[in-house]
Symmetry: C2
DNA sequence: TCAGGACAGAACGCAACCGTATCGTCCCTA
DNA sequence: TAGGGACGATACGGTTGCGTTCTGTCCTGA
């Protein structure tokens, strides 16, 4: 006997209303994250999301017109968790706090699976690329700029310090370790990384440097 | 008129033999790369590879039993391009050369799309993870270990320098820039990055007093 | 109160792929 | 030189997902 032959009325439980229901939206959002982590954007299917969320496909199409739009909106909404600007009084302290916050974010299994996946997808999809770019800019790039500015005002760094390079040298190794080598990120490692990054920022303006180019 | 309506016999051109033909294999390998770059591993289909390579699906199934095995083998074969150990006589020179080689590799559009995609997939697929891990170890990790050893022997670095951290601090920012922020990687940027990484390695061991005195 | 509309569920036709099988051709090795 | 087998092509049934449409239920705002 197939599913289609079962009595129909018996299986229906809840119902709807004349307004989009928040709990349905929440269930869909959660399902999107889980499915993204489990299968990636490429293999994400509306049907699987609906199945996991326990909703009908219509509930999804009523909210978003496509898989892309759905993912972009759900991801954007989640990305607005603003990162606080560290202010420990020293450059190395600030960097250490920034690294800690970054490591904590990347330790989330959802994030550590979904973010690399979407980044890979971004190379084929300009909309995804733009969304991620904005998320990155809004959350972290400004933070490190402020951090550099504070350090400059304290006299810890020269005024022409390259904030962009600083940003790369703080988050690059961390992301590399989490996403590429998949090695564990211990507090001790973060200590050493912070130390190295601090030295890099200070030392990059050594003897031959200062081209400013 | 669609292709499917053309007379069937007229389109057959080549034929086969009693041995796997190298040019067919090469065509398939190239198609795998192109399809991987275009659609990612998740959306890679055997049929599309066969179509692009201009071969029948049988030619593929005769060589590999599954999409996973096919991709792993093709990618592994391509990853054996060994990176020469830089030996410029100075640590910063070696780092600069390593960065240059890395940047050149990542500038290839195929690589810069396929590698992040497979890395994302690796978080769901242990076989892919292992393959990439091996490729990374064989090509670059040993290189940077030798580089550090040379620097230690020259007296440029203390004997207890953390090679792992060094590795992360050299390639991390580069990969971050290419794969995450998608910013251009100029020679000038590589110069500054090499400078910073060098300072990080030297300065990570003790108070960052260097450069000036 | 009451009607509009969101709801879950089911089914639709269509398309893409899966992995396998079969065909006739023709190359390559023994 | 003989024949085994790789070759491209095609077809197969099965699966999955697409986006749409319909149904009957029942919530909710006006």
């Amino acid at each position: 006997m197939s599913d289609a032959e079962k009595p129909r009325q018996a299986r229906r439980a809840p119902a709807g209303a004349a307004v989009l229901q928040k709990d349905v939206t929440l269930a869909i959002q959660a399902a999107v994250f889980t499915e993204l982590a489990k299968h990636g954007y490429g293999r994400l299917s509306i049907e699987a999301v609906a199945r996991r969320a326990g909703v009908g496909k219509t509930a999804i199409y009523r909210r978003w017109s496509s898989k892309l739009q759905m993912v972009l909106e759900v991801v954007s909404a989640a990305a607005v968790k603003v990162m606080p600007v560290p202010d420990t009084g020293t450059l190395s302290g600030d960097i250490r706090e920034l690294l800690d916050a970054g490591a904590q974010a990347m330790r989330h299994p959802l994030a550590s699976q979904i973010v690399p996946d979407l980044l890979a997808e971004a190379s084929r999809n300009p909309d995804i690329a733009e969304t991620l770019e904005n998320a990155l800019r809004e959350t972290q790039q400004g933070v490190s700029a402020v951090m550099i500015k504070n350090a400059v005002e304290r006299g810890d760094l020269p005024a022409d310090t390259d904030a962009e390079l600083a940003f790369d040298m703080v988050f690059g190794p961390l992301y590399w370790r989490v996403a590429v080598t998949r090695s564990p990120v211990s507090n001790d490692y973060l200590d050493r990384l912070a130390e190295g990054a601090t030295a890099a920022l200070i030392g990059a303006h050594g003897p031959a440097a200062h081209s400013g180019g």
